[in-house]
Symmetry: C2
């Protein structure tokens, strides 16, 4: 990765979070390993990071039970040059990102955190958010919200929000390595558990930049989402 | 529709709003008339209302320029028993719904307002929201928001919202006829223009009930959405 003799000054590592159990997805196979056009979801996700020129290294975080299967079955069949290691995750998403962070060398300058269950991310979008992360220190892909959003209590609308300023954030989210480490330490110290890395960085009052992505980069949530992802990824 | 001699006590009319110009969709054909699996989007939408047993009558609101084309081309090729008329819309969505409302007979008891650009709505979901509208006076289909939502100013995150209580509302939205008429009169009097009928009813402090729908019932926004709708509507 970081090579003092090269012209390449910036080292950017990606942490692919693939450790979730995905209760709403159902079945015995977590969604990130479900088959999509005959290949595990994770493979589709990795391909985009592999081809993105702004990514130097990829670390995959998986549940302990899937460690061998990912190494022996999934990675053995694909030629990913950038995947440097597969590490076991923790109970919560935050524990898993933390495990990924701990596995990185301290020479890494920027970290892109991405959910494996977003296989429709495009290499071009990864590049854009990495460049924004390098320019501003913290950046996330996001899409403007088209639907009207309501705050609801006990199945009754209590407020209609002003949607003009609302964005749904996606991943990758890209941060200066030192900043993300600091955010994770602060969260751990304060016993804060969140599923959104940007929010951990916002807690430090650091401004997070929005990079416009597109709605195809959705997170697989229910089994029917596989069909939607196939319609995006497999032309025809 | 309302037949004093029948056992059917409730008359429910649907207003299908198909009058928009859809700037983000591009092209010369508004999205509600774009071809989806060889048929105009509007036809797919109408089929679900046609087969929904809770809907007694359907009124379509279109832009003046499309009036003849909808009648002569689109409706002439399909056998919709429930479509009673096609009326010209106005400049804003609110004007169009208003035109649809004005065309209904005063004997209508409940009104379901639906955007033609949501062709993936299911008859079964229409039934559920109509039943809730009859039970509570005002109801809307909606889906819980899975992504983290941020309030953004000048491309920088300023707030992460508590997503546990956030729902994205869809259509149909179903209201007691008198209530919706009252909401539209109040909005007109106060010069309020909104794209969400529920918000107009909320202005009267009337509680709007949330009915859980599903994410397939999305609103066509960009040309790529046609492919997504085809993957939902056309088994393959």
């Amino acid at each position: 990765m970081s090579n003092p003799g090269s012209l390449r000054a910036v080292s950017t590592s990606a942490i692919i979070v693939a450790a979730g159990q995905g209760q709403r997805f159902g079945g015995e196979t977590p969604k990130q390993f479900a088959l999509l056009g005959g290949k595990p979801v994770l493979v589709w996700t990795l391909r985009q990071f592999e081809t993105c020129p702004e990514i130097d290294e990829v670390v995959i975080v998986v549940h302990q039970d899937w460690l061998q299967q990912v190494k022996a079955d999934i990675l053995a069949h694909e030629q990913f040059q950038k995947v440097s290691r597969v590490v076991p995750g923790g109970v919560e998403r935050q524990d898993s990102v933390s495990a990924g962070l701990s596995s990185l060398s301290a020479s890494v300058e920027y970290v892109a955190v991405h959910d494996a269950a977003r296989p429709c991310v495009r290499a071009e979008a990864i590049s854009r958010v990495v460049l924004a992360g390098r320019a501003y220190g913290a950046a996330t892909l996001a899409v403007a919200i088209n639907d009207t959003v309501k705050r609801v209590r006990e199945q009754v609308v209590c407020e209609t929000l002003d949607r003009s300023s609302l964005w749904a954030v996606q991943t990758p989210q890209v941060f200066k390595y030192d900043l993300l480490i600091q955010a994770y330490r602060a969260a751990s110290k304060d016993h804060v558990y969140l599923t959104d890395d940007s929010a951990l960085v916002e807690r430090l009052d650091y401004p997070v930049r929005i990079v416009e992505g597109d709605s195809d980069n959705f997170k697989l949530t229910v089994p029917g989402d596989i069909k939607r992802a196939e319609s995006i990824l497999i032309p025809g």
